[in-house]
C-alpha cells in the first residue's frame, strides 16, 4: 500500500507492507511516519475539527486525539447538536466520549 504521510508538512511517501504478524513501513522520515503507516493500514484515524455557534459568532473545537475515519461524520453530527451557554473557556470539554470513541471534544478558540 502506497501512502502519503500526513503527520507533518513534509508529506513523506510511505510504502506499507502487511506481513503475517507485522506491518512494515518504509519511506518514512521519522518515527511518526511509522506510527501513521501502521495505523492507516489497520484503523485509519483523524483529528476532527469544527465549530459551534456561540453568542453571535463561534467557538472552534477539536477531538483531543484522532478518532476512526468512519466515525468522522457521526462526530460532526454530535458537535452540531451541542448548545453552549456562556461563559466558555479554552480547553473546555463540550462532549465526553464522542461517538463512543473515548475521546473528548474540546474548545480550541473563542471568536
Amino acid at each position: 500500500m502506497k501512502l502519503t504521510c500526513i503527520m507533518c508538512p513534509v508529506g513523506c511517501n510511505l510504502t506499507v507492507k502487511k506481513l503475517k504478524n507485522e506491518i512494515i513501513v518504509t519511506g518514512n522520515g521519522c518515527p511518526r511516519g511509522e506510527t501513521f503507516g501502521k495505523s492507516e493500514a489497520i484503523n485509519p484515524t483523524r483529528i476532527v475539527t469544527s465549530i459551534i455557534p456561540y453568542k453571535d459568532r463561534t467557538v472552534s473545537v477539536k477531538t483531543t486525539n484522532p478518532i476512526p475515519k468512519n466515525k468522522i461524520i457521526e462526530c460532526l453530527n454530535e458537535i452540531r447538536n451541542v448548545k453552549l451557554n456562556p461563559p466558555v473557556r479554552m480547553g473546555q470539554v463540550v462532549i465526553k466520549n464522542v461517538c463512543g470513541t473515548g475521546e473528548s471534544v474540546v474548545i480550541t478558540g473563542i471568536n
Binding site: 502519503t4 500526513i6 503527520m7 507533518c8 508538512p9 483523524r46 480550541t108
Partner: protein, 416 residues
C-alpha cells in the same frame, strides 16, 4: 493628537508580529504591537484545523491554539498592544527614527519608534488577478474569506461549490465545506501539479473523494445575480485553453485559492521590493533597504507553515532589538543569488562572520534525488545537502556556515 514613543513598533499582531514582538522584548527592547483587527492572532484565528506547531512547539495544535500560545506569552511579558489600530503612514525622519501615523477608535495617533518591524502578513489573489472570465455574480469568494465567514462568523457560503486553484487554503476549505454539508464538486488546478502541500491533497480531498482536476481550469463564470455555473476547459502545456474540452458545470459558489501576496502596500514606495516575492528585499538581519525598518513572516515572503514564520520572526525581532541598542554589527554584505531551478531566495544579502545563515527559497520545478548547494562565484561549495524531492509548493531551506561567506553566493539545485 496622541503621541507615543517606543523603541520598536511592530505592525501586525499575527504569528509573525507576536513572535517578533516577544523576541525583541526578550532581547531587552521596549516594544509596542499594533493590529488593525479586534483580536490578536491574525490568520491563525480562522485556521481551526490541526497540524500547527510540530516544528516549533514540538506539539500538534490548531491555529487558534497556536495563536493563544503566542498571545499568552506576549501578555506575560506585558507588551503594550493597540488593537483596532491601523497604520496609515510610516515616515523615516531626519534623526533616523520613524514617525508612524495610525488610526484607531480613539482617533489619530502618532508613534515615534527607533525601529519598525513589518509583520502585516499576506493577502489573497483575487478573481481580477487571475483574469477570471465571465460575469461577477454573488458567490465568487476567495478561500480565506470563506474560511472566515464559516469558522469565525458561523455563516455558510453556498451549497454546490467549485474550487479554483489547489492552494492549501482551498484544499483545507474543500474539507471544511464538506464537513458543513456542502457538495464540493471539484478542485480545478491550471498547473499540471498541485500548488498545495501533498498532505492536504490526501487528508482534505482524497479522504472525502473530492476530485482534483489538474491542467484544467475555470474559463468563464456563469450567472446574473447568483453564480449559476462555470465553464471549465483543459489547459495546454503552453497554458492556452483547449476550447474543444469546454463543459458547463452547474454550481452556486466559486472559491478562489489562487495564491497569496505579501501585503507591502504601506511601504512599497519607500523600500526596495523583490519582484518575485512581492516582499521587501532584506539582508541577513531582516533589515530592508531602509535602515531600522525590518520585515518578517508572510509580508516578507509567503510561508507554508506557521512554525517557520515564528522562527524567522524571532530572528528579526532579535536583530531589531540589537539595532535599537546600536549593537547590530553590520559588515560587508555579499549578494545571495538564485541559481539553477531556484525561483527566489531570502535574504538577498548576507555577511560573513560567526554563526549560521538560513537561506529560504522556492524552486521553479519538481526535481527528485538532487542536492541543494550554496557556491561562491569561483564554484567553491560552502553548503550542500541532499534532497529526496523539491517542489514549487514547498519552501526549502539551506543552512550556511557564515565563516565561509567571503563573497557573493549562489543557491542552486544540482544533480549531484
Amino acid at each position: 493628537m496622541d503621541k507615543i514613543k517606543t523603541e520598536i513598533l511592530v505592525i501586525g499582531g499575527g504569528a509573525s508580529g507576536l513572535s517578533a514582538g516577544i523576541s525583541a522584548t526578550r532581547n531587552g527592547a521596549k516594544v509596542i504591537i499594533v493590529d488593525r483587527e479586534e483580536k490578536l492572532g491574525g490568520i491563525l484565528k480562522q485556521c481551526i484545523h490541526n497540524g500547527f506547531g510540530l516544528k516549533y512547539y514540538k506539539k500538534e495544535m490548531t491555529g487558534p491554539e497556536y495563536a493563544n500560545n503566542l498571545i499568552v506569552e506576549a501578555k506575560s511579558l506585558n507588551i503594550p498592544i493597540l488593537m483596532q489600530t491601523s497604520v496609515t503612514k510610516v515616515t523615516k525622519m531626519q534623526n533616523g527614527s520613524f514617525k508612524v501615523k495610525v488610526v484607531s477608535p480613539n482617533g489619530l495617533k502618532e508613534i515615534i519608534a527607533k525601529a519598525v518591524i513589518l509583520a502585516m502578513g499576506c493577502r489573497e489573489r483575487t478573481a481580477a488577478s487571475i483574469s477570471l472570465g465571465g460575469t461577477r455574480p454573488v458567490g465568487v469568494i476567495s478561500a480565506g474569506s470563506a474560511q472566515k465567514m464559516i469558522n469565525v462568523y458561523g455563516q455558510m457560503i453556498g451549497k454546490n461549490v467549485v474550487i479554483v486553484g489547489s492552494g492549501d487554503v482551498g484544499l483545507i476549505m474543500a474539507r471544511r465545506l464538506y464537513f458543513e454539508g456542502a457538495n464540493v464538486i471539484g478542485v480545478y488546478e491550471i498547473n499540471s501539479i498541485p500548488s498545495g502541500l501533498n498532505r492536504n491533497i490526501v487528508q482534505c480531498l482524497n479522504d472525502y473523494n473530492i476530485p482534483l482536476h489538474l491542467s484544467e481550469t475555470v474559463v468563464e463564470v456563469l450567472g446574473k445575480d447568483r453564480v449559476s455555473g462555470v465553464v471549465v476547459a483543459k489547459v495546454n502545456p503552453d497554458f492556452s485553453f483547449d476550447l474543444k474540452t469546454r463543459r458547463v458545470i452547474p454550481c452556486d459558489t466559486i472559491l478562489l485559492s489562487v495564491g497569496l501576496v505579501p501585503e507591502t502596500d504601506l511601504v512599497s514606495n519607500d523600500i526596495v521590493i523583490n519582484k518575485l516575492t512581492s516582499g521587501a528585499v532584506v539582508d541577513d538581519n531582516y533589515q530592508t533597504s531602509t535602515s531600522g525598518l525590518f520585515s518578517c513572516g508572510n509580508v516578507l515572503h509567503v510561508h507554508d507553515i506557521v512554525d517557520d514564520v515564528t522562527m524567522e520572526s524571532i530572528d528579526a525581532g532579535k536583530c531589531a532589538a540589537l539595532f535599537v541598542k546600536n549593537k547590530l554589527t553590520e559588515g560587508k554584505k555579499f549578494k545571495v543569488l538564485t541559481g539553477n531551478l531556484v525561483r527566489y531566495s531570502v535574504p538577498s544579502y548576507a555577511e560573513g562572520g560567526q554563526g549560521f545563515l538560513n537561506v529560504k527559497f522556492r524552486v521553479s520545478g519538481v526535481k527528485k534525488d538532487c542536492f541543494i548547494t550554496a557556491r561562491l562565484a569561483d564554484g567553491t561549495v560552502i553548503a550542500k545537502r541532499p534532497a529526496k524531492i523539491v517542489l514549487p509548493a514547498q519552501m526549502e531551506q539551506v543552512v550556511i556556515d557564515k565563516s565561509k561567506i567571503v563573497g557573493d553566493l549562489t543557491i542552486s539545485v544540482e544533480d549531484n
